[in-house]
Symmetry: C3
Subunit: 436 residues, 3 copies
């Protein structure tokens, strides 16, 4: 069985060594203090760096970049060997060149391969399959990469080749990134939430305080939240489907699919998934808030008060079938919309979307997605009902939130309908032919 050398008996060195030993490799450690190491994985040997390097053809340097200088001493032993760089930095852009390139420049006669830096010592050691099973590989020597690829594969990790060593910078940035694709959608969601929060705070709470001298500030916690969240959710949902429609119009106008979209549109299209998932999260909150309405003290008080007043004032109440229809309809639309929404969420789980063919995926995401948007929009229109026409709705001459939030979805749906007209559909089909 093959012998591998690991430099450094730290966390990663030990975990990697242990897993390699399990898989049947022989492992020898190179350490500064070969005789005073903490207990190492059973079956591994420890010696000085130079001795260890001599024995193996593949050397894994599990040492921080800051200490790479000691490797120069072992240069003769490392000549022609495969040297694996696993290091990460604590932040981006700390050094002018990537760690791997720096290592290569220190040891020009070794074949440096960047690998394993996205794997965590903790999960290696515990055999847990959580996160980070993907190993990104890069290096200038094809044989060296092949050797490392085999090593990683036999550890049960999946390998993705990123090309030559100059890609190391990118690979080193992976473990440092924190949801880069979610940034824009998150900012948008925060901005919209803040805007609508203050807008509705003014219209509801402050208006009541100023005009009616009533303190209804307690409504912030639930009633206001339950307006802001669905409103932002609906807007973000429609922003998912707007770029697709815009793209179609641009293509129709240009008559070809081969010219790139403007940059902003491209970026927008790439963050639709995140927009959609955030919208789902907000819709989820809306549903939870809605479902516990009847538990609230305020609501219970109101209902009881109502019954009491009916009796005390000896009023009679009449059952209004129209209101019943309307109330049941908007709730039904909401439920159907939400169920489809969850379905969209489920199909965007990586393990499910991987199991779907492209046609299936776009059937769900595009066709059912527009249906979701339609249901949610209808839900809101039905909720508004005849209040659109009542002047009392427009406190301080401002429209209520749900009217504002209906603008974008309505536009998207109308534009989409236009595209579905036979004449438009046909020309678009011709342009996109072969696009799938």
């Amino acid at each position: 069985r093959e012998l591998l050398c690991i430099f450094g008996t730290g966390d990663l060195g030990r975990s990697l060594g242990q897993r390699l030993l399990q898989t049947g490799y022989r492992v020898v450690y190179g350490s500064r203090r070969p005789h005073s190491c903490d207990p190492l994985p059973q079956g591994a040997q420890v010696m000085s760096h130079t001795e260890a390097a001599q024995l193996a053809t593949v050397v894994i340097a599990c040492v921080h970049r800051e200490h790479y200088d000691f490797l120069e001493a072992a240069a003769p032993q490392l000549k022609g060997k495969v040297l694996v760089d696993v290091s990460n930095n604590s932040e981006k852009g700390l050094y002018p060149e990537s760690n791997a390139e720096y290592l290569q420049s220190l040891l020009p006669e070794a074949s440096v391969v960047k690998a394993f830096n996205t794997i965590s010592a903790w999960s290696l050691q515990n055999g847990s399959s959580d996160a980070h099973r993907q190993v990104y590989l890069c290096g200038d020597s094809a044989e060296a990469k092949q050797a490392v690829r085999e090593l990683a594969t036999s550890l049960g990790l999946s390998v993705l080749d990123r090309g030559c060593l100059s890609a190391a910078r990118e690979v080193e940035d992976f473990p440092l990134q924190l949801f880069p694709q979610w940034r824009l959608p998150l900012c948008l969601a925060t901005g919209l939430t803040a805007f609508f929060f203050f807008y509705l705070l003014t219209r509801d709470v402050i208006y009541a305080y100023v005009e009616k001298d009533k303190d209804i500030s307690f409504r912030i916690m639930v009633s206001l939240a339950n307006k802001v969240f669905p409103i932002v959710s609906l807007i973000m949902l429609s922003l998912c489907y707007l770029p697709g429609v815009l793209a179609a119009f641009i293509q129709l106008y240009r008559g070809t699919k081969y010219r790139r979209f403007p940059d902003w549109l491209d970026r927008w299209m790439l963050c639709r998934k995140q927009l959609g998932l955030l919208a789902l999260g907000l819709a989820f909150l809306h549903v939870l808030y809605t479902l516990l309405i009847p538990i609230r003290y305020y609501v219970r008080y109101k209902i009881a008060e109502n019954v009491v007043s009916v009796i005390r004032e000896n009023r009679t109440t009449v059952f209004d079938t129209t209101i019943a229809w309307r109330s049941d309809s908007y709730l039904s639309m909401g439920i159907l919309g939400f169920a489809l929404f969850v379905l969209l969420g489920i199909t965007s789980l990586p393990s499910i979307s991987n199991a779907l063919s492209w046609r299936e995926f776009s059937f769900v995401q595009s066709k059912l997605g527009h249906l979701t948007l339609f249901f949610c929009t209808l839900h809101t229109y039905l909720y508004g009902w005849d209040r659109f026409l009542r002047p009392s709705t427009y406190k301080w001459w401002t429209p209520p939130g749900y009217m504002l939030c209906l603008v974008v979805p309505s536009v998207v749906l109308v534009l989409k309908l236009l595209i579905l007209l036979p004449c438009m559909d046909r020309s678009l089909g011709r342009i996109r032919q072969g696009w799938e």
Copy 2:
């Protein structure tokens, strides 16, 4: 580094080229118009088809089948080369033979390999890991397939060998399929839903209209939906577990596990997953509809009306502990059933079922599955309670929906209990030994 040739500078050609360049390959395009192409990926060269083909040993034809005839001109250059066919058709059965076989017949001296047709240009280009990471491979030459396999692996795609070139037809059908396994369960669900909808519409709405002259059509939106969905869900859930029981009885009767089941049973057993997931979807809708009952205008009106009438008629209401027990019990059973239902759904997510051993998977799906069925059935029995015996329940001499829907689950549970009897269990165990 290896040089690859791509014919066609369209969507797929460009995306594939870009990814291959990233991975460290060199790429040369063959095009009809080598000098007037839109901007191609950086680092790629463009030339005529014949020139490009001469340089590489692997040629990827990113061209529609309709244009394959031009390849005959390049036949001499393609002799002995690996020619990758990526094409899809716009519908099934458009041509008598598969595209790959057609290509092979045009160029009998090239080794045609079908691959990449399930990958989408869009996701290749955007490095998104959505959907379609699986490459299906087929071809008659083992070496050619090996070359393509390496290429695909280095792109980070997972490869599945489907055998020789005659499997190409099947491979070409993959991207065209639209949930083939869901068709039967979906039809069943639609059929049952339609049946119960009209059945309950008659019993509830039309009956009230005809016999009592009351218009309660508004109930369609929520009350009726909230009967139809759980009823269909329960039936479909029990249909998941019926074939397993039938299979057991057939095996017991035959005394061997080695004879194939009748065809209908086989097909039924293969769509149990889809049946179950649809049942989960419908149960989810039932739960949502149920939870918002107290928000409905109609319900609020009814409750208020009730209180008002108690006071106006000066009635006293008595708290009935039995009703309290029954109401709380059926709700509790429903909740437990639903929670287990969701658990079944979660374990059928591909990424989770992959992490489970066969014994674990069948413990959840089979043992907990039957428990789910039991809870849901009990929920419905407790909901019915003493109404089974009241004549007023049987309007127009028809039983209510929940009684109808209890038939299949009850049968399944009884049969399952029979199988669990020690004597039956032992003989079944002996027959299935080694089946796992």
Copy 3:
């Protein structure tokens, strides 16, 4: 194309053969009764064991261990061949040595490789991708393992090398295990649930019966369940985050990260995921139980009764803004806590955690996890509100359940706050440097 030999025409033999034929291999079966077999996969040949073995270099023994003795007769033909052992036992520890080692001892001149034992015949045959796609491999000959690895890879299975043949015992235990990592958390959950159930039963139902002579036993089904579940959930959630804090203090005390944690702490840290998911399941039940409170007969009766008594006694009710604030706040905290809880659950789906970088994963699990704990704890404190100070709360001198359950979370949050103090944070950072 390569020829493979399969011994045994049982379930696994047939399914494996069928899939191998699909992939382009040629298959020959070795059977006791070559002429009276049930229909085998199309294209396969059947002959006697010795004849079949002679033709191929790889032989897969799809036979139970109990029948391995017949193989000795074919020893000459199997000499130098790769012999794949796929067998499982019906329970752990049935035999002194593993099946593969036993087979190797029977046929010392063959290269035995253990493989495929975690794959199910049923799923192989139906091409379903459910469960068990992972093949564990072990064996003493590197070439033999390589041959089997290629075979498995071409079937589209993923392969994990577990080292030499002595690992076979471990590999054979995989299909027999039943959620080993869930055992401890499940026991804990059951124990806590039982304790709190009896505690609250005594305090609520028995107390009412003894002191007030009221039978409120019907409350067990919902009210009691809806206390026990959230209480246990909150405790288990906090137990997820306690070991991390303890670990930090131990490391601070020791001044190094290189000494192993005590064993109990290690084991505890490895089952945090399961603890957390169980807590999520219980919280899910709590939410369902809570949301259907207004549907319960008891609750409806109470509310109606209340309104009736207000009128009959001609009381006036006053709206208390403080109560409204408190009620809305604790519900809001609960919802936010639950939403984050679900988010934690979603990110621990294998397919999602695989897509996250380590930093992202620990941002969600650690940062947002503590936030979740904070929200849930606040929810419970706000729910308790001023009852902490009311003597009537302490029936029979025992505190109510929600007070008991606040102890651990409060401790965890306070300790975590301590660690976040700049001085502590800095020294911890220095100790853990490079840990990632």
